[in-house]
Symmetry: C2
Subunit: 340 residues, 2 copies
């Protein structure tokens, strides 16, 4: 952090947190769009795996840099936000970039989080950086709420419902079927199941009882729609355990009616106190744009990583480790006055 | 913390967090009831202002001690949970006991929080203790959610609605009217106002538009009900700015139908990302017992205060300062595995 740009804020000089984006897909574009909301942050460069870098057209007036040259930006970036995918990008980029920069990522392959944490932790410690992993809304905000609910009400039961929302993984799975030109898959929570939880019935819910799946599919002209529908509904892991509905639509209808990457969900906890008193705690998100909201969460944790690093800390962290105050642009006095 | 009681947990010895309760009203009784849910905590004594202490009948088999003898318990209690009221008890007890013990309180006189924080901070530092103030659900959980929402979505707007729930302050105000034998007042959020917020209309809501007030009143036989109703509805600060409904009922009906101290509320945030994409974030509580749930929150922050003190920290804190992981009885590996 040798070079710093400062701005005059309320009479005192404030350091601008210099942000790099690594990966320019939907999430990277979201970070680029939402960073403008934070007066203490500035975007300094966007990094890409693609060659030539000129092939990547971005909206901002900042350099596009190949990821192999990231080391040259070590002193020009306070926090690198990793916007790659959990399957292929992050397992490589996370540990590699945590040696150079403070980093934030949204790693969400749940079973592999402990190994990923260890790899990033080792790198971040060796580079004296802070890396907050698995940030977003789930894992992320939903995880936090599950922790708060379960701590406060340890004998209760927490349920997570997702949707209505577009699942990229499931949409991709349908697109991989022969004869499918395009597809969008919505995950839909079962209202009756949510009501049972809210009513304190403590239901044991199967996968099928919690969510349904709704698919809009564009088939090529010669394709056999019955065969495609059957292949979708019987696909193991993705669809076989769910009640799935398939509609065949035109490319035009898909683009005009199903282009928004909406998502959201509910974390609902039901517990008891005293002599049979119930309490229901619920947190919900309804998002028109999943990547833009996820980007918004990544940005405030970038602020926290910057503050922790400035205090001399290093190593990997999760959202559970971060004092809420570090997320805010306001100081301690302001949050007590305005939000407590 | 010279004396420690340990328990064998999963093969390793775990220190039991020794809890004292100061004040045996509804909140203190809630802490006494809910501490049993936490396997790492034990109640060691209940402190009272009343004399003789034998006049205080408690449920637990622990000593009842006069508050003036609290100093004698310095090495026998890890965290003292202050269950007195914000008006008269806490301004005195908070700073006084923070010199002796780690403390938790639910101070909720909003305008006076900065001064109270300062007084407790000075005491806690001089006694090398950690004191977390203004803990509960509002201030407390609702404050946290307001901070998360406003940080992630700084251009959005946050609304807090309370109820349906019993307001002790408003019930007491009615009981102070001549000819009133008993009364319960419910604060009720206006559904239409909540829907406007959820629909992204960003309404400017007056006090009257957000909540209504519903009063069940037991009048003495000779009392003039019209006069009582008028006095309630015109009471400044408490009722004059609200649409208030008054029902006169029998003492029997009040006791059988309105004895539960239910409460709750909703924090709703509406914001925008990108090119006109909306998001709605909502947190809600529906509580059969306000004091028992508040007690549940105090207990997990007692755990956090104990952990911070064990790390050598001291001074006053608010919920904004506390890393969520400190609230949990689970360790870092377990929360990552089970809740992230």
């Amino acid at each position: 952090m040798s070079k710093k740009t400062d701005v005059e804020v309320r009479g005192s000089r404030k350091h601008m947190i210099r942000i790099g984006i690594c990966g320019y897909g939907n999430l990277g574009k979201g970070v680029e769009s939402e960073i403008k909301k934070h007066s203490d942050m500035e975007l300094v460069a966007i990094f890409t795996r693609r060659k030539p870098v000129e092939s990547v057209q971005i909206k901002s007036k900042v350099p596009v840099v190949h990821i192999d040259s990231a080391i040259e930006w070590k002193d020009k970036i306070d926090v690198m936000i990793l916007c790659g995918g959990s399957a292929k990008d992050l397992p490589v980029q996370g540990p590699k970039l945590a040696k150079i920069f403070n980093t934030i990522d949204s790693f969400d392959t749940h079973a592999k989080i402990p190994d990923y944490f260890k790899a990033v932790d080792d790198s971040a410690k060796s580079g004296n950086n802070v890396s907050i992993i698995s940030v977003g809304w789930d894992p992320g905000m939903f995880s936090l709420l599950r922790l708060y609910m379960n701590s406060i009400s340890p004998n209760g039961k927490t349920y997570t419902f997702w949707g209505k929302g577009v699942s990229q993984g499931h949409s991709d799975a349908i697109r991989g079927i022969k004869g499918v030109e395009n597809a969008i898959q919505y995950t839909i929570p079962v209202d009756e199941a949510m009501e049972m939880v809210r009513n304190g019935e403590n239901p044991e819910l199967t996968t099928r009882e919690k969510h349904t799946r709704l698919c809009y599919v564009v088939a090529s002209n010669e394709a056999d729609e019955d065969r495609i529908e059957k292949e979708i509904k019987e696909m193991p892991n993705y669809f076989a355990d769910y009640d799935t509905t398939v509609y065949f639509v035109s490319q035009y209808e898909l683009q005009t009616k199903h282009s928004k990457l909406m998502h959201g969900g509910n974390v609902i906890h039901m517990g008891k106190t005293g002599d049979g008193n119930n309490h229901v705690i619920e947190f919900s998100l309804k998002l028109d744009s999943n990547p833009e909201f996820t980007a918004s969460v990544l940005l405030v944790y970038a602020r926290a990583a910057y503050k922790l690093s400035a205090k001399g800390e290093n190593g990997a962290r999760t959202v559970f480790d971060i004092p809420p105050i570090l997320l805010s642009e306001l100081n301690a006095e302001e949050v007590v006055k305005n939000l407590l």
